[in-house]
Symmetry: C2
Subunit: 349 residues, 2 copies
């Protein structure tokens, strides 16, 4: 089997490594950046790296287009133009409607893996193990070519999941792109309010909500534009939500505000229950001195008892001497975890 990878960065390089290792494929890479191409060859990610797209894609059964989002659609079209009639062409872009190509060989794709460390140097053959990999087949998609892609993705360890391109983009707008937007709005507002004042550390809600503010401007400008329609809808809904709250606040309606807050609690609980927030977990809050070793002490105690910490957040006091550790463990493990932490002498809630 021959696989072609168009664009050999973190994702393309990882696909190449996985295809060689797990599919036993011959992998040709097309990468205009010759330094990156050379690096990929040296890493053993590619069998060859021709200087033309046509040479790289010839005889390939699957072509993965992993070009930057800003040139992704044109690169998909260029690849389709030179790929054989029986070649599956797919991409790895984080939005899907903007990439849809009206060609039975094309199947949009979006692996939920990667992270921010760009470049082929960070590529790994196991990057996609157990990762959801969205596929957006359309009515014109060839069943044979879809099945081939599905099987290849399963073989490299991923979990292919078919989804309508519009649902995919709407979902990404809601759970990823809008959170990035509001993070930016929050830091902008805080900068305006705090500007000039020397005020102490803000609370954890602010820090958590703004962790992604200003993330990779070039990438995110492209992502927002690529998913423009869905993001505009999300932005409009958020504006409507703000306006609804405005009405409740202006009316001074404490019971309506209670209901509004309570609805959010139910919605969050339902998302947690459905595993959307990473599985049914419970939070334990532990008051600790903020010194080296205290996190280790907690983690070791729980680890030693076979309890996995699925998330952990340390909120220091303003001067950093004390803090609260919030630990998320599975609901089943929570009572035992609480007991173990209490045995260490920390107050746990």
């Amino acid at each position: 089997m021959k696989v072609c990878v168009v664009g050999v960065g973190l994702v393309g390089g990882s696909i190449a490594l996985a295809a060689r290792e797990r599919l036993g494929a011959h992998v040709s890479g097309y990468e205009p950046d010759r330094v990156a191409a050379q690096r990929a060859l040296e890493m053993g990610a590619l069998d060859d790296a021709p200087e033309s797209l046509g040479e790289a894609v010839v005889d390939a059964e699957i072509a993965f287009v992993a070009a930057p989002l800003g040139v992704l659609r044109e690169t998909v079209l260029e690849t389709l133009a030179v790929a054989a009639p029986g070649c599956t062409v797919t991409d790895v872009g984080s939005t899907k409607r903007a990439i849809l190509a009206d060609d039975q060989r094309f199947i949009g794709g979006h692996p939920l893996a990667g992270g921010e460390s760009a470049g082929v140097a960070h590529a790994r053959a196991d990057l996609f193990v157990d990762a959801t990999w969205y596929l957006t087949p359309t009515r014109t998609t060839s069943g044979v070519l879809y099945e081939r892609l599905h099987r290849a993705l399963t073989t490299i360890g991923a979990r292919p999941t078919a989804v309508d391109a519009e649902v995919h983009d709407r979902m990404m707008a809601a759970v990823s792109h809008l959170p990035h937007v509001v993070a930016n709005l929050l830091v902008a507002q805080a900068s305006g309010v705090l500007g000039g004042e020397t005020l102490p550390a803000t609370g954890p809600s602010f820090r958590d909500a703004t962790r992604v503010a200003g993330a990779n401007p070039a990438l995110w400008a492209d992502i927002m534009l690529a998913n423009r329609d869905a993001l505009l809808r999300s932005v409009a809904e958020a504006a409507t939500g703000l306006d609804e709250l405005r009405v409740l606040l202006e009316a001074g309606d404490v019971s309506a505000l209670y209901d509004w807050q309570h609805d959010a609690a139910k919605q969050r609980a339902a998302l947690l229950e459905a595993g959307e927030l990473g599985g049914p977990t419970q939070r334990l809050r532990v008051a600790v001195p903020n010194r080296p070793g205290v996190v280790a002490e907690l983690a070791l105690k729980l680890g030693g008892a076979g309890i996995n910490i699925s998330d952990l957040s340390l909120t220091p006091a303003p001067d950093g001497t004390r803090g609260e550790v919030a630990l998320w463990v599975s609901t089943a493990d929570a009572p035992r975890a609480g007991q173990l932490i209490a045995e260490l002498g920390f107050a746990v809630a």
Copy 2:
């Protein structure tokens, strides 16, 4: 010295414990919930717990009003009505303009401490150690009474910081109340989009941004209403920000979107630099198997080298077998921390 605490829950109880322990004060508590009052007596938080506010406040030099936000203003006024002319009366509410009483004995207060574990059972004498404690004196505030309060707060370990009540409320709206609002909007939208679909775990940006969604509805309905004016202004600014983004998206202006994102990055960096997000730190991202013990291994290695982890977040892969640990350490420690982690055999970025 006699101190009176009006409302003996987590905060009031902790003030009482600290006043007995660190000020050597005689502490009288007024708590309508007699079970809580009894508990506070048994814990040694109070010397006595009279059944009337007048008895509790008689002869007190300072009265701390720690009643629930919904009845805080009326309780402050009731306390002022029975307190002696030379008694400082203060409160601990999270918004300040709504509580302002036009009385030279009154000084608004807001300790940045507490957490969500309500009730006197969680009270501790050291709750306020190194915590910022905002005070909102006005032009009518007596200097002598202010100085007495300031000294008492310093003695129990807090850091009193005078701030204009309006600035305080505006700041809290920006860094705490608005983040809670947008967290609610995000879960509402995600619930709508994901409803009925069984889709995999969402990304860390969503989880982080929605951690506080639906927090304590009764408390938060009161907080939002108590800070209504400032929150309305924050909500209006957020709506304006959404609308500005809408214009950029509709224009399809990639360079303006880049600038918008880049501005947020600069603002976030400035907040970090100013210590608003908890001091100048650097993030290290570590790819790890998500098994019990791995967090301990990292934390121990850094702890053993005297490097403190100021924040830590574990992002599991959808099935929980692998993940990425993000560690925040001081910028000065970052290079050494990276080296130590690499020695453990984990990929670090």
